[in-house]
């Protein structure tokens, strides 16, 4: 079971199948670009088969089956959801094709169906945001928080929420969640939900806005400005992702804290893919390097931003 099969393609490099979630955000397209560019540049990789599943698990499963039929060497999967992969990954295993997870993870019970996962830890991102909140507001009076959630039901939304409150509750911060609504991870959603927040609750009493991603945060900042408040001052703002636009807002003093979620891990992924194909032993989880940035770091970090 060496996977060389009738690999089909003439070259000796690897054929990799990549089942991407979709193109739902700038983060995601930056991620796709990074992986595609890395594969292109890498001599060890002969071809990258890229499929965009438009956020549907059914389409991803279909894509994996097609990869199996094509007898690719390695399958990279960025799962839309955590559960439901048992059968199709089992099929890949039977066909002798190793699977690498990129970005999101899958349920623990299926751990032996993939070799390793390379990606971010959304719960950890939530925790990072939580820690800064505790640090910044701890000890004072009740911290009043507004939250802009991601798409209802999506893993990053759920995990970033979980990690955040885990720390807040764990550290015993005295806080009140004024309101929490989904802004669908979009600027449009962030802005309109924020407008409603402002007209319903006002901003005078609110201390912190926690936005699950950049775009919603940026949308909300506009709403805050249009209502005559100063984002970053009248209300402190945490955003997750760390796109260029997010950092620019940070430089302008409109954002107070950025938790990075790094999409640019194409090169790292190619290394992992090659290792996996060679049968090397790997840790189950290979974290992507990700930082956190406060007001002092924004200026310096901005030039390094790739998306």
């Amino acid at each position: 079971d060496d996977g060389d099969g009738s690999g089909g393609d003439s070259g000796e490099g690897l054929v990799v199948g990549f089942a991407q979630v979709g193109a739902e955000s700038a983060w995601r397209t930056a991620n796709s670009d990074s992986v595609q560019a890395a594969a292109e540049a890498d001599d060890r990789i002969d071809e990258l088969k890229f499929v965009d599943a438009q956020q549907e698990q059914e389409k991803q499963i279909e894509a994996i089956r097609n990869f199996i039929t094509q007898q690719v060497d390695v399958i990279v999967l960025a799962p839309v959801v955590e559960t439901g992969w048992t059968d199709v990954l089992g099929e890949a295993e039977t066909a002798g094709i190793p699977v690498v997870l990129a970005d999101r993870g899958i349920e623990a019970a299926d751990e032996d169906l993939y070799v390793t996962r390379l990606g971010s830890d959304f719960v950890e991102e939530g925790r990072k945001a939580g820690s800064w909140t505790v640090e910044t507001f701890g000890g004072g009076e009740t911290t009043r928080i507004l939250e802009l959630e991601g798409t209802v039901g999506s893993a990053p939304a759920n995990d970033r929420k979980t990690g955040f409150y885990e720390v807040l509750d764990g550290e015993g911060l005295d806080y009140e969640l004024v309101d929490s609504q989904s802004g669908d991870f979009t600027a449009e959603g962030g802005k309109s939900v924020m407008e409603t927040f402002i007209s319903t609750h006002g901003l005078e009493e609110v201390d912190l806005l926690y936005a699950h991603n950049d775009e919603m945060g940026l949308g909300a900042i506009q709403a805050i400005e249009e209502a005559g408040f100063e984002p970053g001052t009248d209300v402190q703002i945490i955003i997750v992702d760390g796109s260029k636009a997010g950092f620019e807002a940070g430089v302008d003093g409109k954002v107070n804290y950025i938790v990075e979620c790094n999409p640019v891990f194409g090169d790292q992924l190619m290394d992992v893919v090659v290792q996996v194909e060679a049968g090397e032993e790997l840790e189950k989880f290979t974290p992507v390097e990700e930082g956190v940035f406060g007001p002092d770091d924004f200026e310096d970090e901005l030039p390094n931003r790739q998306f």
């Binding site: 009738s6 089909g8 393609d9 199948g17 991407q20 979709g22 193109a23 397209t29 796709s32 595609q36 071809e47 990258l48 088969k49 890229f50 499929v51 965009d52 438009q54 956020q55 549907e56 698990q57 059914e58 389409k59 499963i61 279909e62 894509a63 089956r65 097609n66 990869f67 039929t69 094509q70 007898q71 839309v80 959801v81 955590e82 559960t83 439901g84 992969w85 048992t86 059968d87 349920e107 019970a109 798409t151 209802v152 039901g153 999506s154 893993a155 759920n158």
Partner: protein, 341 residues
């Protein structure tokens, strides 16, 4: 009395009138074959028989739902709630078996009965209160999605439930490695649904009333056909199929995803229409729907084999393929049709 034949009758057209309605589906199948041949010529491993089998694995739920949709569209209606209903059914199954600890043997019938019942309710609202189908079922689209999210806003695993492991057990046709193929049980569920639907539509009174109502509801009523029963019936069938699609989805992934099947109703409608069924009702075939689903699957297979399209080129490619398909179908259909206006 047959001595006088009162009307003049030319012998022309009798043959054609019989065959004319098969043209769209013939065109669909022809184009499907052409697409397959194109794939064969361009991609290695495209000749693997499993590739065709896979069309019926990944699209088993879609096929079932599209069959239900065929009933509704043939009757001149439309059902937008099927995607949400499917997600809701899967989620409800997960909730009943995992949270409530009900045996799956009970949960599955409950879900199917609920799907059928809510379809009947929708149908009754449409028929008796004359609410437009598009709107009544759009309310369903929102409602079932909302209920699904209220059960759980994250995916739920049901792998521990023994019952759901049956669905993906495979039946092998020849050795897969030596050019055979295998199909899981869920594909057979889908085939069974297609066959039953075919028989019901073509060989039962209910099926023929569906066509009659789709042709002209007013006339069907005046002919004394049970239009109320028919209209309520088609939505019940569609609700049942959507719920069954949910059960199949539960089998296929052994998990429930609250955002599953978003936009699935449009895929189903597209499959039905590509299969030659007219949205105005009264004309079409359930076997055309099978071809339609295969076309949708074949398009994504080709894109996966092509493999070098980024997200946007992939979308554009799907659009262009659909366009080519529909225009060719129109063109072939027309040149053959040449019927009286």
């Amino acid at each position: 009395m047959s001595t006088t034949t009162l009307t003049e009758r030319s012998d022309r057209s009798t043959l054609f009138d019989g065959l004319g309605r098969y043209i769209p589906i013939a065109a669909t199948i022809g184009l499907l074959i052409a697409m397959y041949a194109g794939g064969l010529a361009n991609y290695s491993n495209f000749d693997n028989p499993q590739l065709i089998a896979d069309l019926f694995i990944g699209n088993a739920a879609l096929l079932i739902i599209a069959v239900g949709m065929t009933f509704v569209i043939l009757s001149g209606g439309i059902d937008l709630s099927v995607g949400s209903m499917m997600a809701f059914s899967t989620m409800a199954l997960a909730w009943m078996t995992v949270e409530l600890g009900l045996p799956a043997e009970i949960a599955v019938p409950v879900v199917l009965v609920f799907g059928t019942g809510s379809g009947m309710f929708t149908g009754a609202v449409i028929h008796y209160f004359k609410v437009q189908p598009f709107i009544a079922t759009l309310a369903g689209l929102f409602l079932y999605r909302g209920l699904t999210l209220q059960i759980s806003d994250r995916d739920v695993s049901i792998r521990e439930i023994e019952f759901f492991s049956w669905g993906m057990d495979r039946v092998e046709f020849g050795n897969v490695r030596e050019g055979g193929f295998s199909l899981p049980h869920i594909s057979f569920i889908a085939f069974a649904v297609v066959i039953i639907a075919f028989i019901v539509l073509h060989y039962t009174r209910f099926g023929r009333s569906v066509y009659a109502v789709g042709g002209s509801e007013q006339s069907a009523l005046l002919m004394g056909l049970p239009t109320a029963r028919t209209k309520v019936g088609v939505y019940a069938v569609s609700g049942f199929c959507a719920a069954l699609g949910g059960v199949v989805a539960a089998y296929a992934t052994r998990s429930a995803n609250p955002l599953a099947g978003v936009g699935l109703e449009l895929d189903a409608i597209a499959a039905v229409v590509i299969g030659g069924t007219l949205l105005t009702g009264g004309s079409g075939f359930v076997l055309g729907t099978v071809a339609g689903v295969m076309v949708m699957g074949m398009i994504s297979t080709i894109i996966a084999f092509q493999g070098n399209l980024n997200s946007w080129w992939a979308r554009i490619a799907v659009g262009v393929l659909l366009l080519a398909f529909i225009l060719l179908q129109r063109f072939l259909g027309r040149s053959g049709e040449k019927r009286k206006t």
